[in-house]
């Protein structure tokens, strides 16, 4: 958990009475009580993973909690509320860890948790499902250079690829356009759409290989001794080395319900990207034939044949 910011909240006189808690006898009052509890449970823990002793206004959290939570013979109101505060963070951090194993491996546990807490504090979940927890991460990292200072391009690329992996896993698949349908269409007017599960990425590192190797190691760990894994984890050793820079053009996609990373040439990437931006087929092809002088029309036919077989294109109904 990130270090507390002792001077960040306004201090008030400790003699000032703690405000009365809502009594939940109307829906409006219920809402106020739930806002209060949510603020407490979603607030950052301290560096020892405990609930913070002071409320945001500087008042005692113990006094505040006892206004709306009953103590019992074993736990104070503060301690009962703290169970929920800790559970909130442990649940979200576990989910974040599952979604971004590559970022954790590259950043290391401490930096990863610091990033996760900062991100989740800035972007609490607004979806009924934890699946969407990381959807603002790339944008967050773009605006928070302190979390990418370690290696800005590597961290951002990993976040992009790991989010693309989530999208590839369970985004929709529209009925694909067949190769025959492509032959029948007028290329000057045909605007092909990429499947929602396809994401195009231009990466500065070969992170596809890195993530595949990482998953392989983690799967092997799960099948071997827990003691070895725990030992490695304690030492902070990760057997997959961070990759060296090498530009990669990639499409993440789903085929037969498995997520795949498909390497692309620059010309292929440019063509798919032009289609993604809504250019008609003929215009997109002309662009690539003009800019990528080694690309020939027969290449394009072969590529479209392969991509159509993968079901990457669809057309909205008229």
């Amino acid at each position: 958990m990130s270090a507390p910011a002792p001077n960040s909240s306004p201090r008030v006189s400790r003699r000032q009475p703690t405000p009365k808690a809502p009594d939940a006898r109307t829906v409006a009052s219920l809402s106020r009580l739930q806002l209060l509890v949510a603020s407490a449970t979603m607030r950052e823990l301290n560096e020892d993973f405990e609930m913070r002793p002071r409320w945001t206004d500087g008042r005692s959290m113990r006094a505040r909690a006892s206004r709306f939570i009953k103590p019992n013979d074993r736990l104070t109101a503060f301690e009962r509320l703290e169970i929920y505060n800790r559970q909130y963070w442990f649940r979200l951090l576990e989910s974040f860890h599952e979604d971004f194993p590559g970022l954790r491996a590259v950043l290391g546990q401490e930096r990863f948790v610091r990033l996760a807490v900062a991100y989740l504090s800035a972007h609490p979940s607004t979806s009924f499902t934890l699946r969407n927890l990381g959807r603002h991460l790339v944008r967050f990292l773009e605006t928070q250079p302190s979390h990418t200072a370690f290696n800005p391009r590597l961290v951002l690329d990993l976040a992009r690829l790991e989010w693309a992996h989530i999208e590839a896993f369970d985004n929709a698949a529209e009925p694909p356009v067949t190769a025959d349908a492509l032959l029948d269409a007028n290329p000057a007017e045909l605007r092909l759409r990429l499947q929602p599960h396809v994401t195009l990425l231009h990466l500065a590192y070969p992170l596809d290989d890195f993530l595949i190797a990482l998953r392989h190691v983690e799967d092997s760990r799960a099948e071997t001794s827990n003691a070895v894994a725990a030992q490695q984890s304690r030492r902070g050793i990760h057997p997959v080395r961070s990759p060296k820079p090498q530009p990669v053009w990639l499409a993440t996609h789903r085929h037969r319900n498995c997520v795949h990373y498909k390497r692309l040439t620059v010309a292929q990437f440019q063509l798919l990207d032009a289609l993604r931006q809504g250019l008609p087929l003929a215009e997109a092809c002309e662009l690539v034939l003009r800019d990528c002088f080694r690309t020939k029309p027969e290449h394009l036919r072969r590529w479209f044949g392969d991509w159509a077989l993968l079901g990457w294109f669809w057309l909205p109904k008229e």
């Binding site: 009594d23 809402s31 979603m42 206004r67 169970i83 369970d170």
Partner: protein
Amino acid sequence: MPANSFNGFTDYGVGIGLRVPHYRHILTRKPVVDWFEIISENFMVDGGRPLEVLDQILEQYRVVQHGVSLYFGSADELNREQLKKLKRLVRRTKTPWLSDHLCWGSVDGRYTHDLLPVPYTLAAAKHAARKIREARDFLEVPLAIENISSYAEFRASTMTEWEFLTEVVERADCGILLDVNNIYVSSQNHSFDPFTYLDRIPAHRVAQIHIAGHTRYDRYILDTHDHPVIPPVWRLYTHATSRTGRTATLLEWDANIPSFEEVHREALKARQFMGELVEGAAGSNPSSC
């Protein structure tokens, strides 16, 4: 009472939760299981492997949906987009009933992804009951509301948990998913008699029962679903089914998940208890509560 309107007049027997580590075993070995409970949110997606697995399961097994995010106790209104996705899944699974918790977990559009206890007031009960009715009318499927385990009690509460649950389900005219492990956990955390809880709720509304394990710490118990069911919870199950009669029962095991066989074996213990009970309770009238 093998069936009632709250579980779609079904008699489902003993099921287990459908969990990822068991997918391969279930799809390749096709074990005989009375039914599977799925977590709705895991399948409220637009495509991919989750739906492929679900469709394969649906070809061979009976499936009941259990949700964790409708948050009937939240002051916020129901999320219409979420309900639409849920209804698409209801149509896919043809679940005979659908359950979710009597709790809250979202406020002002922010989600805690937890099952938080509601202050037990009349206003909260009326509000939750209205939301349950709205959800049922939209989803067009019977709803059963589950009692949660909790670790804190609100000063604002003006009634007991079982009074609150009764108030809500009577006002909503819905079923109860009775989690006897949750009653045990909360009874230990809040020092009440779990048998009183069981005796005071409207047994004729119980559509389904949950059983599970938990983790005991020095000063409280956490509902972790990572252990076998302990004898005191089986005793509560015995007592509950003596009031409700034979009821669809499901074992929850969500962390440190052992083999499929071990989970299923643990669940099937319920049959022994139910068998004894149904004979023992043959002369009783469960609807006399």
